[in-house]
Amino acid sequence: MQLTVEGISFRYGKRLPWILKDVDFTIKSGQRIGLLGTSGYGKSTLGKILAGYEKPIEGKVLLDGRALDDKGYCPVQMIHQHPELAVNPRWKMRQILYEAYTPEEKLLQQMGLELSWLNRWPRELSGGELQRFCIARALAPETKFLVCDEITTMLDVITQAQIWQFLLEVAEKRQLGMVIITHNPELGKRVCTDVVRIDELGT
C-alpha cells in the first residue's frame, strides 16, 4: 500500500504567503517517516492534507494511485497534538472510543487503557490517558496510515515513551505507514525508519 502526494501547494488565503509550494512525498506501508522542522513551516498543514482534513490548493493526494475520496472511513487517520480538543467533551470515553469501530479487549490492554476509564468524562482524564484513547480510536481495521502530529509534545517523558512503545509495536505488527511530525530530532531518530526536513520538501 502506498500513499503519495504530488505537487501539493497550500495557503490559507489569496493574499497570504504560500505555506507549502509543490511538495512531493511518498510513504509505503511499514515505513515510518519523521517530518522535522520548527513550528510554523507547514508540517501540520502537510499532515492535515495527507489525512484529508484540508484540501490542497494545487496537487493531488493518491492512495495506491487512486484519489483519496471523502466518503466512508478514511484509511489515513490523524492523531493530534492536543487530545482534549479531539474528543467531544459531552461524551463519555466509551462512546468516543466506539465511535468508529469496537476495538478488541487485547488492543485496550496493550494500550494501557483501564476499563474503569471507559465511563469517565474527558475532563476527568489526563492528557496522556486521552491521547491513548485517541490512538486506540484511530486504529480501526481499515486504517493503513497514521499521521502523528506532535502527539507526545505535551506529555511527560515517561508517558511519551510508554505511548511510543505500544504504538510502534502495533505499527510493526500491522505494517502501518506512519508520518511522524515532531520538532524533537532525538525522538525522530528513535522512532522513525527515515527522517525528512520540511524545508527540504517543497521549493
Binding site: 466518503k71 472511513y73 478514511c74 487517520q77 493530534h80 467533551p89 459531552r90 468516543i96 468524562w121
Partner: protein, 279 residues
C-alpha cells in the same frame, strides 16, 4: 451525615433550590389565573376605587372590579401567549440556526440576511406592523410576538453550531466516515440543546413583556379581556387622580414573573456547563 449548613451552603444545591422555587411560583400564578372564574373580578359599582385592603389586596378599579384576580387572570393569559410565542420562536430559531451553520453557503447568507432584516426594524415597530396587519386582537399579538423573537436566538444557535462544526472531534468524525446527519444528531444536538433550552427560557419573559407593551399601546388584546397591558393603560387615565395602586401592583406582578424566568435561565446556565459551575 454532614451538618445541614454545609449541604445547604453548597452552591449547587442553592442553584437547584432557586430554580424549583421560581418554578412553583410561576406554575402557581399560571393555574390560579386559569382557574379564576369570571365572577371573581366582576363589575360591582359600590366598591369603586377601593385602596388595597385585606379583602382586595390589589384594591379595585373604576368599575369596582377586584384588581388582584383581574391581574392573575391577565397574567395567565399573557403567559399562554408567552409560551406559545416562545415555543414557536425558539423552534424556528433552532431550525434556522442549525440549517444556516450546517449547510452554509447561500442558505447561511440568506438566513443571516433575514435575521438582519428582522433586527432592522425596532422591535416595537415590527410588532405594531404585524398586529396591525392581522387586524389587532389576540391572534394578531400572538403571531406578532411569535414571529419577532426568533432572530436573536437563531444567531446564538448558529454561532454555537459553527463552533462545534469547526472543532477537531467533528472533523475527525467526518474522517471516520460519519455522515453529516449522524454528526448533527450525535455531536451537535447534545451541544446545542442546553443553549437552546436556556434561550427558550430567557425568551419567555421578553415575549410576555412585548405582549404587554403592544396591548398597552392599544394593539394587543381587546379592552374587555383582562390583560396586564389593558389594566395598565386604563390605570394611566386615573394616575392624575392619584389611584397609584392601579398601576403599581399589575406591573409588580409582571416584573416578578419576568425576574423569576431570568433567575431560572441564569441558574440553569450555571448548572449545565461544567466549567463555570466550579467557581
Amino acid at each position: 451525615m454532614r451538618s445541614k449548613r454545609t449541604v445547604f451552603e453548597n452552591r449547587r444545591i442553592q442553584l437547584v433550590f432557586w430554580v424549583v422555587l421560581a418554578l412553583c411560583y410561576l406554575l402557581g400564578i399560571f393555574f390560579v389565573g386559569l382557574g379564576v372564574k369570571e365572577s371573581a373580578y366582576g363589575i360591582c359599582f359600590e366598591d369603586k376605587f377601593l385602596a388595597p385592603s385585606l379583602r382586595h389586596p390589589f384594591g379595585t378599579d373604576g368599575l369596582g372590579r377586584d384588581m388582584f384576580f383581574r391581574c392573575m387572570k391577565g397574567l395567565s393569559t399573557s403567559m399562554v401567549i408567552g409560551i406559545l410565542a416562545a415555543v414557536v420562536s425558539s423552534f424556528l430559531a433552532l431550525v434556522m440556526g442549525i440549517l444556516s451553520a450546517v449547510l452554509g453557503g447561500f442558505v447561511d447568507k440568506f438566513i443571516n440576511w433575514a435575521v438582519d432584516l428582522c433586527m432592522g426594524l425596532p422591535h416595537i415597530v415590527l410588532l405594531l406592523l404585524i398586529s396591525f396587519m392581522m387586524g389587532k386582537g389576540m391572534k394578531g399579538v400572538t403571531i406578532a410576538v411569535a414571529l419577532t423573537h426568533w432572530p436573536a436566538l437563531t444567531r446564538l444557535v448558529r454561532s454555537e453550531v459553527l463552533q462545534i462544526r469547526s472543532s477537531l472531534y467533528v472533523q475527525t468524525a467526518y474522517r471516520m466516515g460519519k455522515s453529516p446527519y449522524q454528526v448533527a444528531v450525535t455531536h451537535m444536538i447534545p451541544h446545542v440543546l442546553p443553549t437552546y433550552v436556556i434561550g427558550l427560557i430567557l425568551l419567555f419573559p421578553h415575549a410576555i413583556m412585548h405582549e404587554a407593551a403592544i396591548t398597552f399601546l392599544g394593539f394587543g388584546l381587546p379592552a374587555e379581556m383582562p390583560a396586564i397591558g389593558v389594566i395598565l393603560s386604563e390605570a394611566m387615565n386615573h394616575i392624575a387622580a392619584g389611584k397609584w395602586w392601579l398601576a403599581l401592583f399589575p406591573g409588580l406582578l409582571l416584573l416578578t414573573v419576568v425576574v423569576l424566568f431570568d433567575v431560572i435561565g441564569d441558574n440553569l446556565k450555571k448548572l449545565w456547563n461544567p466549567q463555570s459551575g466550579n467557581q
